[in-house]
């Protein structure tokens, strides 16, 4: 039986099943229980024992799913799909722009059973809904915040799925995770753990996580069954690109404040002998800040330095030059903080796409940008992942973390195949740690 994320076994449970490490006796109800994800393994053991049993776990939302129109796959997409179909579990790694969605659509069509598609943002949810509807008209529902419409193929967000898996889990034999590198985090991983879906497909450009949690993916979704690197895609299926670093300065006053903050921060780090090699080292500082006022001051200094770099006035000024240099190109501008996006929008009358905006305006603006009615967009983190903004010629990065995943995804936007080379600007503040951040993030890409 299915019980809100778990499988419950009633009646005479064979000793071989009771001996499985993931089966526990639940004294509250006097029955055996396991996480949803072990459903298939329990079933396999029962079948091999030849035991008769009644299986009430899956209760699919529709009997079968048929595509009205099949996508025509490129050769490498076909190869990725074939590899996944062997076990109907696993992760497909492809750069942004290489058409991962089509691999998933064809996978759903071949499996022919209800699928739950999990994506990181509402923008992506809308995009998947649109794409899926072209191939499965009238069969695509969405499940998030205000709109809960369950159909044969339902698109949901990681946040909604985390909660809804208790009710929806057993209704979809196939799970598709877009940007699957999100899945291993402490809470999101429960979507995979609590679901009894036997078939699972993960999609991403970069499965690796700085915290090494991607090691969990084989158990949650399956092994990497296909991998294509950015460098392989560039020039063949995607556009080539140039990167130009634009250095801007802080005002004298800003620089003085920056140096002061840097003194506080560095002083503490040195006194404590802390070293930062990975994001988890930084977690130590956050932890120390919970205990000592000194560490707290160091952390606050770090945050203010970061804000100064990402919001500095001269960055807004630098945008003017870049806009002037590309009067005809489509331009996408990224910022770390929405305050900077707001300022760029106000100054240059460019639409902003951030979480502050009503959904309706965001959708209309994206539509206008696609049609070419507006030539530039400024955005915070909303568009970090996979959103389809075709034909961008110029990407401007006004600030971001040193994580190379974010970088790959941002440039991915500019990488759609086109006759000319795409251009990427990175605006960094001279004589600050940002120069270093920028160097770190370009390492290992392209």
């Amino acid at each position: 039986m299915w019980d809100r994320g778990t499988v419950v076994l009633s009646g005479d449970v064979p000793a071989q099943i009771r001996a499985l490490s993931f089966i526990k006796f639940d004294a509250r109800v006097g029955k055996y229980r396991a996480l949803g994800m072990y459903y298939y393994r329990i079933k396999a053991v029962l079948d091999s024992l030849g035991v008769k049993y009644e299986d009430g776990v899956l209760s699919p939302v529709c009997r079968s799913v048929e595509a009205a129109r099949r996508p025509s796959l490129r050769q490498y997409q076909e190869e990725a799909l074939r590899s996944w179909l062997r076990g109907r579990r696993g992760v497909v790694v492809m750069p942004t722009g290489a058409g991962k969605t089509y691999v998933a659509i064809e996978a759903i069509a071949r499996v022919g059973q209800p699928a739950l598609v999990v994506v990181p943002t509402i923008e992506l949810l809308r995009q998947w809904e649109r794409r899926l509807s072209e191939h499965f008209p009238g069969r695509v529902g969405v499940w998030y915040g205000e709109e809960k419409r369950e159909l044969c193929i339902t698109v949901t967000t990681y946040d909604s799925a985390y909660v809804a898996v208790e009710h929806l889990g057993n209704r979809y034999p196939l799970l598709v995770f877009d940007e699957v590198h999100h899945l291993p985090s402490e809470s999101y991983r429960q979507i995979a753990e609590l679901s009894p879906a036997p078939y699972r497909l993960g999609l991403t450009a970069t499965p690796e996580r700085a915290d090494d949690l991607h090691m969990l993916l084989p158990e949650l979704v399956g092994p990497v069954v296909y991998r294509m690197a950015v460098s392989e895609a560039a020039g063949r299926y995607l556009a080539e690109f140039d990167v130009e670093v634009v250095k801007v300065g802080l005002s004298e006053e800003e620089m003085a404040r920056y140096k002061e903050l840097e003194r506080v921060y560095r002083g503490y780090i040195r006194a404590r002998g802390l070293r930062f090699r990975s994001p988890s080292d930084f977690g130590r500082l956050v932890m120390l800040a919970g205990r000592s006022a000194e560490a707290r001051r160091a952390l606050e200094a770090w945050h203010e330095m970061r804000r100064m770099l990402f919001e500095s006035r001269s960055k807004v000024d630098a945008v003017a030059d870049i806009l002037r240099r590309h009067p005809d190109g489509k331009i996408l501008i990224f910022t770390e903080y929405t305050a900077l996006a707001r300022e760029v929008s106000r100054r240059y009358l460019i639409p902003e796409v951030t979480y502050d905006m009503p959904d309706q305006e965001r959708e209309l603006v994206m539509e206008m940008f696609r049609r070419g009615e507006v030539k530039a967009l400024v955005t915070g983190k909303v568009l970090d992942e996979g959103i389809d903004v075709p034909d961008v010629d110029v990407v401007v990065i006004l600030g971001g973390t040193s994580s190379s995943r974010q970088y790959v995804q941002r440039i991915g936007r500019a990488l759609r195949l086109k006759p000319h080379r795409a251009k990427i600007y990175e605006v960094v503040t001279a004589k600050t740690r940002e120069v270093d951040i920028s160097r770190r993030r370009r390492r290992g890409v392209g």
Binding site: T6, S187, R346, L364, K375, A376
Partner: protein, 377 residues
């Protein structure tokens, strides 16, 4: 409830406790920041400048902002004006100097027959923090502090894996608590403790995996628990990769924000009529104290003297089956009134007085059972 990143808690050894707000002046300061006439951004700037811990200021502000009124804007209209501006600017792309910007704004203003100021206002007011506060917070500093302290307990529980709640309260309150926890998809095991009952609460997955996924739901139970006559909460809290014990009780907690429990509604017209008829002749208590049967909470519908009365209406088979099991295990003087549409034979075998009724229980049929327990109303 306030966001987890605004939680203020003190860890000591293996214990964790909220850092409650004990003085009133920080609450007064934050209430004062949200003056009508200010833009929300201005009020927030005052909160940021508060002469005390930023986390405390922002936590209080979070609660206050739920009770204020903001100027109303038609966001669709703002979006229409904004899109008009973006389109106009795209025609002149790129708009990089002040003069050109002013020309675009003026062109849109004249086309829409509004002033340039209105266009600028539309550009700004799409952002919530540009809106003007029209109604200040309607609460005292004491109330805000009580709400804040309650929120701290709830927010701490976001990270809880399980919670034990001891409550001593009338049946109506306990019933509401149990009903709410079931509605949230949680599970419990009950036992008698002192003058009340103790509920161990977690969820289905808890049996196979330690998880914080029920934390936000456990937090929602807090108002129900702390409105009991006496209460105690114990929980395991996962913070910074460690498990801490949290315990709080009515006797040690600061003043909390109570929840008023509505007078109990009758579950059915049969119950309502029974109450009306019987209360004319005997003293009847509705939803008496909660009992524990097996490890479940059982709150009979009525109590007459020492006799409990339960009315079993025509309900879903699943519900009726569970009720039957509970009643079969109850070792108390009990009168069970059963709707005749339910399968009769098994009900008669219950170790209690059983009366079958048609449509509604009649006083003439049941008076002989209640007579020995009946005291004049």
């Amino acid at each position: 409830m306030i966001p987890l990143d605004l939680l203020r808690a003190r860890r000591q050894g293996d214990r964790v406790a909220p850092r409650y707000l004990e003085e009133l002046w920080p609450a007064e300061y934050v209430l004062g920041a949200y003056r009508p006439g200010l833009r929300l951004a201005e009020a927030r700037a005052k909160v940021d400048d508060a002469p005390f811990e930023p986390k405390l200021a922002r936590g209080l502000a979070h609660i206050v902002e739920r009770s204020i009124g903001l100027e109303e804007v038609d966001r669709r209209r703002l979006t229409r004006i904004r899109l008009e501006v973006f389109r106009e600017a795209a025609k002149a792309h790129p708009v990089v100097d002040e003069g050109e910007r002013a020309r675009v704004v003026a062109a849109v203003a004249s086309r829409l027959k509004i002033s340039a100021e209105e266009v600028e206002a539309a550009l700004a007011k799409i952002h919530e923090d540009e809106l003007v506060i029209t109604r200040g917070p309607d609460m005292s500093a004491e109330e805000l502090a009580a709400l804040y302290n309650t929120s701290l307990v709830q927010t701490l529980l976001f990270r809880s894996r399980r919670m034990a709640a001891y409550v001593a309260a009338d049946g109506a309150r306990v019933k509401e608590l149990v009903r709410t926890l079931k509605g949230l998809g949680l599970m419990y095991v009950a036992e008698r403790a002192g003058g009340g009952i103790r509920l161990d609460i977690d969820g289905p997955v808890s049996a196979v995996k330690q998880t914080e996924r029920y934390g936000t739901r456990l937090a929602k139970l807090v108002p129900y628990v702390i409105s009991a006559d006496d209460w105690r909460i114990e929980a395991d809290i996962s913070l910074y990769g460690k498990i801490y014990k949290f315990a709080e009780a009515k006797s040690s907690a600061p003043k909390m924000a109570h929840r008023d429990v509505e007078p109990p509604q009758f579950d059915s017209t049969a119950e309502e009529e029974f109450y009306r008829n019987v209360s004319r002749v005997c003293a009847v208590q509705r939803e008496p104290e909660a009992l524990v049967v097996g490890n479940r909470v059982f709150i009979p519908d009525f109590k007459i003297g020492d006799l409990y009365v339960e009315i079993v209406g025509f309900w879903t088979p699943d519900y009726v089956a569970r009720k039957y099991e509970k009643l079969a295990a109850a070792k108390i003087p009990l009168l069970v009134l059963v709707d005749e549409r339910l399968a009769l034979a098994t009900w008669r075998s219950l170790p209690h007085y059983v009366v079958i009724y048609k449509e509604r229980p009649r006083l003439s049929d049941i008076f002989k059972y209640i007579k020995p327990y009946c005291r004049r109303a």
